[in-house]
């Protein structure tokens, strides 16, 4: 019974760690992608309006 509970707890911790890693990866990807798009727009505006 204790073994089963410990295994369940480990699986839950693993799932939560996976979720944290996924959230951080999504945030980094989102920041990089939209950051680059904003950079492009700024460069275009600079070209157009000096």
């Amino acid at each position: 019974m204790d073994d089963q509970q410990a295994a369940d707890r480990r699986a839950r911790n693993d799932l939560e760690l996976t979720a944290w890693i996924a959230c951080v990866a999504v945030a980094i990807g989102f920041g990089v992608y939209w950051g680059l798009q904003i950079q492009d727009v700024r460069e275009l505006l600079a070209l157009a309006y000096g």
Binding site: D14, E16, A19, W20, V26, F30, W34
Partner: protein, 193 residues
Amino acid sequence: VANRSLPYWRSALLLMLLALGLWFALSPARLAVWDSLLPLFKWMETTLFGQIGKTWGAVFALVQAFHLLSMALLGGAVLLCDARLLGLAFTDVEIPDVWRQTHSLFVVALSVVVVTGIFMACGVAQKIYYLEVFWYKMLALGLGVLFVFLVKKPLLQRASKVPSRPLCVALGSASLMLWFTVAATGRWIGFSG
């Protein structure tokens, strides 16, 4: 057996997949795969869906209307669930209850989005093939679906074990970022080419 020998196998697998994805994004293999997909996109335009989509604008517009409506439904389901996760709305309802209700809507909306999306893609296959933003949308959509079924679902479906508040906020924020990207790049495709 896997649980006992490798207790953190999910996290390890995700880290390996992220490393693999990063390598793929930065390597020439990405362009080789892109090149190899051109015949598929050319073939898509020759299919019945492609012929109908190219020939009858009214049919394309009708299917697109269903695509956009189901995207709105999908976005609504995501927003409701994420608002609860962030603690912005429905705080008097338990998270697993909100999850259950919105997830069934999400699944229906996603099915319609995928079917109508394939039809629309067939009609303009070669156009979207050369649009960089189309590939980013597909990436965001794929990741969004994986995030729902492999991360959110196992964490939120059990009423007895609701994640901690910081993790709920992280889940809600990451989900919003992914689906915002899907919606924005989707509209971007509409205004491209």
